[in-house]
């Protein structure tokens, strides 16, 4: 790999590791310094490698440079606390002990886990948690995060600055929580990873490579949780299973132009069988304990979607899982999907009755669902709902899909008119 391509690649993989380890050493109040040292390290690589050549082990080179810079920082800091601070304070004791920067694999993993739990602090809004995770743990650039969320880089910068300020001032950080505290914080960690993954699946950005990167980072961090005994819990396995099942369809959901291919039109042979098998394994491991989390239910639903052939059993199971999911966690998406499953088990007229009660009239997918349900029952109603959905749809991709549904209805209408002898 040439250095032009190698450095961004290394940045993605190494920056988060270095920052996490440094934060663990310095304490979270020095998060800014840790990030500065990481970017200075990469600057040094950019300046040196083009002239001296790429070192034999680029990651080790980066680690060595980061260690040196960290030592210098600590020494400076110690001089300040040792010489300057005593004049300001009465007790005069230095608070920063001599520390060795440990960039071993084990310590990297532990530091990243700690960082993940620190980021998911209750005082930080969820959207900022996701941005922080991407920035600090996944090495994403401000521009990339802004691109993924479809907001300006300025907005992301502000969001990150506010969140880091919260982290700096929060006193109960950044130790890896233990016992009950892990359970308390784990819910927030899992939600952040779940939303990060969803952002990758449903982000409105057209950049598919970036979207898949978001999903893969979410999976990497979830996998990290499984490597630690205290966080290797059933719902974490369930979340990873869910991610594997969804990710198995990534190769099949893009056409040559990068457009989205809907589930029903996908080429099943392009689904990743190995990833489906992995998902099944994680779901199996999740089946212990007596708590059924939303991730268990969503993973089971995703599992049934890896079986292409429709059967009564498949849709009855999906319906029951959505019933359970909705009773513990309502969401409009789950409500709409449940109604679709209902149409598969009890028929379209029954599903229409249930759909109308959902009253999600501002939601484009609500009208898309009603459109689908009315096809062949009342095509005028179907057209009306598809048109409303088209008007409400937020992305060009969704509008395109809805337009094909409208075109298909129009063709069908023409066909029917011809057969009935009308002009």
């Amino acid at each position: 790999m040439e250095h032009q391509a190698l450095i961004p690649h290394l940045f993605r993989t190494e920056a988060g590791r270095i920052t996490a380890v440094l934060c663990r050493n310095f304490g979270l109040e020095h998060i800014g310094a840790a990030e500065d040292i990481t970017s200075e390290t990469f600057m040094a690589a950019l300046e040196t490698w083009p002239y001296k050549g790429i070192p034999e082990n680029p990651a080790a080179w980066l680690h060595a440079v980061a260690k040196n810079k960290a030592r210098n920082y600590l020494a400076r800091h110690q001089r300040f606390t040792g010489k300057v601070a005593p004049r300001l304070r009465e007790d005069g004791a230095s608070t920063i002990p001599e520390t060795e920067i440990d960039l071993s694999d084990n310590n990297i993993t532990d530091s990243q886990l700690q960082m993940l739990f620190a980021i998911c602090h209750p005082a930080i809004p969820v959207e900022a948690q996701i941005a922080l995770a991407l920035r600090i743990l996944c090495g994403f650039g401000i521009g990339e995060i802004a691109h993924a969320f479809l907001v300006s880089p300025d907005t992301i910068s502000k969001r990150l600055t506010r969140a880091k300020e919260k982290l700096r001032t929060a006193k109960d950080l950044p130790v890896f929580p233990s016992g009950q505290e892990i359970n308390n914080r784990l819910d927030a960690v899992l939600l952040t990873l779940y939303l990060l993954f969803n952002e990758g699946c449903y982000s409105e950005t057209q950049d598919t490579v970036l979207r898949e990167d978001l999903c893969l980072e979410a999976m990497r961090l979830t996998y990290l949780l499984l490597g630690n005994n205290s966080t290797n819990q059933p719902e974490v396995n369930a979340l990873l299973a869910l991610m594997c099942f969804h990710a198995s369809r990534f190769p099949a959901r893009k056409d040559r132009q990068g457009g989205i291919i809907l589930y029903h039109d996908q080429d099943e042979s392009r689904w990743d069988a190995a990833l489906i098998a992995k998902g099944a394994e994680f779901l199996h491991r999740a089946s212990t304990g007596n708590r059924v989390s939303r991730y268990h239910l969503e993973a089971s639903i995703a599992y049934w979607h890896t079986i292409r052939t429709d059967s009564e059993e498949k849709w009855e199971n999906i319906l029951q899982l959505y019933n359970q999911l909705l009773t513990i966690a309502y969401s409009p998406v789950a409500a709409l999907n449940r109604t679709f499953a209902l149409s598969k088990t009890k028929g379209k007229p029954e599903a229409i009755k249930a759909a109308v009660k959902l009253q999600l009239t501002d939601n484009p997918y609500y009208h898309a669902l009603l459109g689908e349900l009315y096809v062949d029952i009342d095509n005028a109603q179907a057209r009306k709902h598809f048109e409303t959905a088209h008007a409400l749809a937020g992305t060009a991709g969704d509008k395109r899909v809805l337009q094909t549904r409208l075109d298909a209805l129009a063709d069908q209408g023409e066909h029917a008119a011809k057969n009935s002898g009308l002009p």
Binding site: Q320, Q324, T327, A335, K357, L358
Partner: protein
Amino acid sequence: MKEFMLIFRHEDGARVASPEQIQVWMKQTMDWLGGIAAQNRLVSQGNGLSFGDSRVVRHGNIVTNGPFGEIKETIGGYVIVQAESVEEAVEFAKGSPVLQGEGNSVEVRPIAGH
């Protein structure tokens, strides 16, 4: 929006159902609850109240084995829903599979303080 408790009353709580029958009831109950939850109107799916190992403590601290025999109706469980009015809560209640049993009923009670 107000909250209402839907209380299931069974005419003969002691009657033992077959596992197959229980499975059918479970599925029907979940279809019903899922429909309410899909409208974001389910506040709590409550708790089922078991008939086994139950006692009734009466005036004078007289303890009897369960409410069966002397009381005709027993409570099988409850759920809490959100509704605009008691009429709407009644519409939710009408879908309960408990009502398939002829002597059974669902009592709709507004929760005080809401």
